[in-house]
């Protein structure tokens, strides 16, 4: 598998608090990396560096093997890195297809060449949104449904579809299964599996649920206090094993 993104020895401090203390990670196209860890372990800081929201104090990020400077969210996006946040991504009052084309709207060809204002091409956006959703197996009755009428899982699926449709090749998912019922979680897990099968998208997901993460991901990474404390292929790891490690870390932290 070709490597998509690699981070080496990232460090980041906010004032006196060290958020990341030399974290390295990598993920390949067609691979899914799960990052587990408690609140404050540095998962979000890592994601925010990869999306260009924060800049690291030290360390280097490589995309497709080339060193890159992720100075802004739009720079990261231009490199194909996109993060899907569970609640922040969509506009409730707008339809699915308007959300999928938000700020990337398609316009109708001008009727008069001198007329500067062009109208939205609703029909074409609808058609392409339908196709984009069908491509990754998200089945909606109508792309004209307002996003506010969808459930959490459906909204998440639309947000992921939008990122992929917007040519994201490195997809960061921030707690994609949080606060979801079994049925909803199935919907997203199925979607992630189909994206994985395409082989041209690298997925990094932050999660809390060990069992689910082991099921979805190819590789998992455990973070604690800004460091990677454990890394292993999911196939050879069990939830009990992970729990053991975390328990030991806690005991060590309390003793120290």
């Amino acid at each position: 598998m070709t490597e998509a993104i690699r981070a080496e020895k990232l460090k980041k401090a906010f004032g006196h608090t060290t958020a990341l203390d030399g974290v390295s990670m990598h993920v390949a196209y067609g691979e899914t990396l799960g990052i587990l860890g408690d609140n404050g372990a540095g998962k979000s800081t890592l994601i925010k560096i990869l999306t260009g929201y924060h800049q690291p104090d030290a360390g280097q990020v490589f995309v497709d093997g080339r060193p890159v400077a992720l100075a802004s969210v739009s720079q990261a996006r231009a490199l194909g890195i996109e993060c899907v946040y569970q609640d922040l991504a969509l506009v409730n009052g707008l339809s699915i297809y308007h959300n999928m084309f938000l700020n990337r709207e398609l316009l109708r060809p001008p009727n008069l060449h001198w007329w500067p204002f062009r109208l939205l091409d609703h029909a074409e956006m609808r058609r392409r949104a339908e196709r984009a959703l069908a491509d990754i197996g998200v089945d909606v009755p109508s792309v004209e449904v307002e996003v506010g009428a969808l459930s959490g899982g459906q909204r998440q699926a639309i947000a992921v579809a939008r990122a992929v449709h917007g040519e994201a090749r490195i997809l960061l998912l921030d707690e994609p299964l949080a606060a979801m019922g079994a049925r909803e979680a199935r919907l997203i897990i199925g979607l992630i599996e189909r994206l994985k099968a395409r082989g041209d998208i690298a997925i990094v997901m932050i999660a809390h649920n060990y069992a689910q993460t082991l099921e979805i991901c190819d590789r998992i990474m455990l973070m604690q206090h800004g460091e990677v404390t454990f890394e292993s292929p999911a196939a050879t790891t069990s939830a009990e094993q992970l729990l053991d490690i975390v328990r030991r870390e806690y005991r060590a932290a309390r003793a120290g």
Partner: protein, 339 residues
């Protein structure tokens, strides 16, 4: 039951289907404007029965003139409300614009150029309000409350408190407002343009996105500040235009015209027509329908001989009822039925 074995794990349950006339009627009645159209029709019927002059040519002309100004103002306010702002000062721009035109004309400009100057000044006021609101993070409620008194003071100062004449009897005056239906034709034209802007341009879509979820809109790269400031400019310019229109109709510029009354009628038209005060949703057509309903109420009760005090009670009740109806109907309006 978790459908772990479903052949379509991404399947989203289809909407229950209804067909034919019932479906169409159902869809229509769930539109935000529909309840207002139904109520307006009932009111027209009631007033016509109570007073046969209600649907006379003269009265319809009067009605159209009463409706036009609030509807045009509503077009601006609806755009602002959708992106979570409001302009309380638009009625003062309405009063100021004819005087600006008068001064520009007195300074030797042709009347058309003087009108353009008045509209530019109106737009500039909107730009300043927008810049203060967005760049200095002052809530627009406060910015425009300040602007309300400020612009009123300027109008009173430059007019010395006296009305001024506006050219009458010209083709231009007729075109702008003196001809009986001129104002209403303008209002319909502006409604049509603004409807297209809201529903069929990126500007409109981004206005809805800004009000609906400002973080998502910003994340998608929409320039929130441009959208909001632009809508302030738009509202102020429409306010100035309406002021010019009314001045041409009446034949004079009145420093005490407009004010809070015209602004509240504009906002009320939008809100009655289904625009959400909390932003993210609204329709221009709703503003037209809301304005017509307020006009029918005022005109009908005036013919009945109900006084102005009573009218305010009725208008207040109408706004409250419309708001309650809109908020509660919205639950059934969501696709998929009651939730």
């Amino acid at each position: 039951m978790p459908d772990t074995d479903s052949p379509h794990p991404g399947r989203i349950a289809p909407l229950p289907e209804r067909r034919g006339v019932a479906r169409r009627l159902h869809d229509f009645l769930l539109r935000p404007e529909a309840s207002v159209i139904v109520v307006s029709a009932a009111l027209v019927l009631y007033f016509e029965v109570a007073n046969p002059n209600f649907l006379s040519g003269d009265n319809i002309e009067t009605l159209s003139q009463f409706v036009a100004a609030p509807v045009i103002i509503a077009c601006g306010e609806i755009m602002l409300l959708i992106c979570r702002e409001i302009d309380l000062s638009v009625g003062q721009v309405f009063a100021l614009a004819p005087f600006v035109m008068g001064f520009a004309e007195a300074a030797g400009l042709p009347i058309i150029a003087a009108m353009v100057v008045a509209l530019l000044v109106s737009g500039l006021i909107g730009l300043l309000i927008g810049l203060i609101t967005i760049r200095l993070s002052v809530p627009s409620f406060i910015t425009t409350l300040g602007a309300f008194f400020l612009i009123n003071g300027i109008t009173l100062t430059i007019s010395r408190g006296f009305p001024a004449n506006v050219p009458v009897g010209t083709d231009l005056a007729g075109f702008m407002g003196a001809w009986g239906y001129a104002e209403f034709v303008w209002a319909l034209g502006i409604v049509a343009v603004m409807h297209v802007v809201l529903r069929h341009t990126r500007w409109g879509l981004h206005t809805v996105a800004t009000g609906g979820n400002v973080i998502a809109a910003a994340e998608a790269g929409i320039r929130i500040d441009h959208i909001k400031i632009g809508n302030f400019v738009l509202t102020s310019t429409l306010g100035g235009f309406t002021g010019l229109m009314e001045a041409f109709r009446v034949g004079s510029a009145d420093p005490l015209a407009g004010g809070s009354n015209i602004m509240f009628l504009g906002v009320a038209s939008g809100v009655i027509g289904g625009t959400a005060i909390a932003g993210g949703a609204g329709t221009i057509v709703g503003g037209l329908v809301g304005g017509i309903m307020l006009g029918v109420l005022q005109d009908g009760f005036t013919l009945q001989g109900i006084n102005a005090f009573m009218f305010n009670i009725i208008i207040g009740a109408a706004i409250l009822i419309a708001m309650v109806a809109n908020i509660h109907l919205a639950r059934w309006r969501a696709p998929g039925g009651a939730r």
